[in-house]
Structure formats: structure tokens, C-alpha cells
């Protein structure tokens, strides 16, 4: 009798504790759960609903038209063109940023003089707000008063009108590469984790600097590189502000005045929404974009299974637990 009592009491207490603890857990995470439902899942579902209609945002009598918007989007050559521009942007910017910021981090992880000065200077452009960065590059590449054409003139090159034709895409590329310091900081942090013992052991085994880099450093930091590659790809694919602000017009007119070479996918989506009021059509574009991003992310993770090395199994929810 006594024995059952003493055994029963702690058992009941612990189940009560568990319940209380799980109630606390849900209380703590509820702001985020509610936020996700209200600000992500619900808008996504709403956009999906809108994408099945011919709503123009104004007239009350919109109709259910099924998958027509999706068919229209996928058969519109302009969609493919703007998607192609976004893809090209990612194809150029992502490898250059990831590799370039890694190279800079390796350089600045060594004992060079003025190290923290170099780090600060290279990181500084990354903290420029996007609007300020885009306006700065407009000044830099201005046809008459910009420094780029002035420097070209020293070498006897003609002035280029950077804000039209294919040239404006070059300006956009350069502008996006300017933020390379952001990746450098993350890589520098990752390089701190490379085990000095392992590097030393590799040296004793006769590995040169390059071999040490590829066999010790790269595997250690590969999860960070993968994370950067994915977030950079997603980030570049949603490029909007820089492309918009390199438009010759300002204010609401800017969206339709973006030069063709810079009409990336998000510019296209915004123009469909806010310049042409094709809410249904633009919502279908957003949903296809969402699926494309999902696909890209999944592909990256698939590919990374063989190439990325984890010291701790990340499926356990990551590191320090």
C-alpha cells in the first residue's frame, strides 16, 4: 500500500509537470505560431485563391477562372524572359559572392597588417541600406557627371549611357556584388571553427596549404557555405529594390519605366499588380515563384547530402544541445 503510494505520487507529479511544461512551451512559441499563420500561411492561401480568379482589384464582379492564370503565365514569353533575367543574375552573382567572400575571408583570417581596418572597409558596403546603395550607383554611373564615364574618358573610351540597353544590367550586377562583405563576415566566423590541431596534423602528414584548405578547411565550413549559397540564391531571385531604383523615373512611375534588361521577375510581378491591376495573374506568378524557390531549396539540400560535412547531425535540430 505504502509502496504503491510512493510510486504513484511522483508519477502523477511528473505527468502534471510535463503537461505544465508543454503548456509553457506553447505559450512561449505562440506569438510566432500565430504570426506564421496570420502573416505567412493565410496570405499564401489567399494569394492562391486570388490566382484562380480574374480579379483586377477594383471591379466587384470577378470570376472564378480556374487554372487559366497559370496557363497564361507559363505561356507568356515575357514571364520566361523575366525569369531568365533573375536566373542569370543568380547564376553570376551567387558563385562570385560565395567564392569571392570566402577568398576575402581566407585572406583576412591571416595575420596581415591593418587587419581590422580591411575587414571594416570591406564589410561597410554590406550595411548600406538598399535604397542608398542603388542611389549611389546611379550617381556613379551617371552618363554626364558619373565617375565611371570620367575614368573611361582618361583611357580614351566614349561615354556610355549606363541606364539603358544591356548596360544597366551590368550596373545591377556590380551593385549586387558590392555587398560581398556580408558573406565575408559569416565566412570569417566559420573559419574560426576550423580545428588548429587538425590543420597541424595535416601539415605533419605533408599536406601543403592548398591540400590543407581543401581537405580540412573546406569540409569544416561546408555547412556555412551551403547555407550562404541557398540564402544568396533565394535573395538574388527576389531582387526588386535595386532594379526598381535603377529606373530613370521616380515614384510610382518607376515600375513601368524599368529598362528591359533589368525587368527581373519581381519587377514583372509588381508591374502586373500595381501598374496593370492584374491581381489574379500576378498572384499566379507569385505562387509559381514560391514553388520555384521551394524546388531550388530542395535541390540544394539533395545535392548537399554528398558534399556537405556535418560534425553534428543537423536533423537533431543542430549543434549545442
Amino acid at each position: 500500500m505504502v509502496a504503491t503510494l510512493t510510486r504513484a505520487v511522483p508519477a502523477r507529479r511528473s505527468s502534471l509537470q510535463t503537461r505544465r511544461r508543454s503548456r509553457a512551451f506553447y505559450l512561449f512559441v505562440s506569438p510566432w505560431i500565430l504570426g506564421t499563420i496570420l502573416l505567412t500561411l493565410f496570405p499564401l492561401a489567399y494569394a492562391f485563391g486570388v490566382s484562380l480568379t480574374n480579379w483586377d482589384g477594383v471591379s466587384p464582379g470577378f470570376r472564378w477562372i480556374g487554372a487559366k492564370n497559370y496557363v497564361d503565365v507559363l505561356t507568356d514569353p515575357e514571364t520566361w524572359a523575366s525569369m531568365g533575367r533573375s536566373g542569370l543574375l543568380a547564376l553570376v552573382v551567387v558563385p562570385l559572392t560565395v567564392a569571392g567572400s570566402l577568398g576575402l575571408a581566407v585572406l583576412l583570417n591571416q595575420k596581415v597588417r591593418l587587419r581590422s581596418f580591411w575587414r571594416t572597409m570591406i564589410y561597410l558596403p554590406a550595411i548600406f541600406p538598399p535604397v542608398a546603395a542603388a542611389l549611389s550607383w546611379k550617381l556613379l554611373f551617371d552618363r554626364d557627371s558619373g565617375a565611371i564615364n570620367a575614368i573611361r574618358a582618361w583611357f580614351g573610351q566614349d561615354a556610355v549611357n549606363w541606364m539603358t540597353g544591356q548596360q544597366v544590367f551590368v550596373v545591377l550586377l556590380a551593385l549586387m556584388l558590392w555587398g560581398i562583405g556580408g558573406g565575408m563576415i559569416i565566412n570569417l566566423a566559420a573559419l574560426q571553427d576550423v580545428s588548429p590541431e587538425l590543420l597541424e596534423a595535416a601539415t605533419l602528414d605533408g599536406a601543403g596549404p592548398w591540400r590543407r584548405f581543401t581537405s580540412v578547411t573546406l569540409p569544416t565550413i561546408s555547412p556555412v557555405l551551403l547555407f550562404q549559397t541557398i540564402t544568396a540564391t533565394i535573395g538574388v531571385l527576389q531582387t526588386f529594390v535595386p532594379a526598381l531604383l535603377l529606373s530613370p523615373a521616380t515614384g510610382p512611375a518607376a515600375i513601368t519605366a524599368v529598362p528591359e534588361a533589368n525587368r527581373v521577375f519581381m519587377i514583372d510581378v509588381y508591374a502586373q499588380y500595381f501598374a496593370y491591376s492584374r491581381y489574379g495573374y500576378a498572384s499566379a506568378m507569385l505562387w509559381l515563384f514560391f514553388l520555384a524557390i521551394l524546388l531550388v531549396t530542395v535541390l540544394f539540400f539533395r545535392f548537399s547530402r554528398k558534399t556537405v560535412f556535418y560534425a553534428v547531425d543537423p536533423s537533431n535540430g543542430g549543434g549545442k544541445r
Partner: protein
Amino acid sequence: MLVMLALGAITAVLAFPAYWVVATAFKSSEQLNSALVVFWPVPAHFENFVEAVTRVPFMAYAVNSLFLATISGVLTTFSSALVGYGFARLHGPGKRILFGVLIAMMMMPGIVTLIPTYLLFSQVGLVGNYWPWVIWGLAGSPYLIFLYRQFFAGLPKELEEAAILDGCSQLGIFVKVFLPISKPIVVTAFVMSFLATWGDFIAPNLLLNQSNTTLAVALSSGYVNERGFPLNNLIAAGSILYVIPVVLVFFFVQRRYTENFSAAGIK
């Protein structure tokens, strides 16, 4: 030596656009339109900065930006900490799935939901005021939640045990024990969310109107002459005034900021 040379060249290339904004900000319109491009404006026209803040209601926009960035910074910092603590120190059924959703949300492009959110907000009268930022702030940011979670998960278990014995509630432990020792991460989270709102263009452009919008939006369309041509020297001066707080904050918290990147790790 070769390394120094390479670093010097890279730094010069990266710093030059910023220099050019400064140089442009000090030019008169004659210097700006001169056939020979002016690299070092003499005399320097400091009055451009005065004109930049008087030609448009610069201060009013700056106050709007400051207000928005502060409310969303404070709310995001606190609610992300709360959720991060939940994921790090508490348990409940479905936690692993929720954590997976959180990680997926970090990959979710914000721009995809922004337009439908705008359409929804406009139907319930939340466009043209600052309420959306309060709601966004209360929901926390997946990235910062993850940052906090990593930090809280690394702290020793003894921390809460004494407090539990004293009969402290979980909220009490969080506020009295965990928050005070996580000051560096709180500062980082606040700076990151503050700067994100300060620099954001798309949301205020969509959700606010000409009178209550932020500096980011006003800068991009405010400085034009009577015929609609951009006034480049004023744009440059305005941009500098807009960037200065960012640079100051950065220099103020720089060490902490970069250290926390490594502490939290994207691993």
C-alpha cells in the same frame, strides 16, 4: 606584401562608390554639370545638406523612420527571445515539427507573402498606418528566433534549476534569469531588426502614404527639380544623412555584432 596590395586594391574599389556619394554631395549644380567631371569639389558646398533637409520635410520622414524602426526593433527583439527560449529550454508535443517549420520559414522569401498581406491589410483598414509593423514585430523573426535558440540552448541547465526550486514560473525564469545574461544577443537582435526596418523600402512603399512614409521611400522620389529631373547633389546629401545613423550604430556595436555572428553560427 602581395596580400596588402591586393587588399588595398579591393578596398579602394569597394570604397570608391561611397566616396563618390560624398564628393557629389558637396558639388554645386555647376560643378555637377561641368563638362569636366569634378572628382574633388572645391569649393565644397556644405549648404547642400541644409537644402536637402529643408527642400523636403526630411526631419518628419526621419522621425517616421526612427519611430517605425524602434517599435519593430523592440517588439521583434522581445518576441523572438520569447520564442527562442521556448524552442531552446521547453518541451511540448510537436516541437520538432514546429522547429522544422521555423527553419523552412528562414528560407521563405518574404516578398512572396508581402503583396497578399498588403491586399489583406487593405481590406481591414491596416494600410496607411503603423499597425502592420506592430503585428510583424509581435510575430518575431525566424532568423532571430534561431539566433536566440542557439544561444539559450548553450547555457547550462543549473541556471533554471535553482529558480524552479524557488517556485519561479517559466516566464519568471526567462525574464529574471535568461534575459539579463543574454544582453549581447539582445543588443544584436535589436540592432539587426532596427536596421532592417530603417533600410526597408518595399513595405513602407506599399503600406504607407506620402505623408507618413519613411526616409527610404522619400529619398528615392523626393529630390527632383520643377521639371522632374533628379537633383543629384541633394540626393547624395540626403543619402549621406540617411546612412550616417546606420554607420554610427555599426561602429558602436561592431565587435559584438560580428562576434555574435560566430557565436550563433549558421550551423
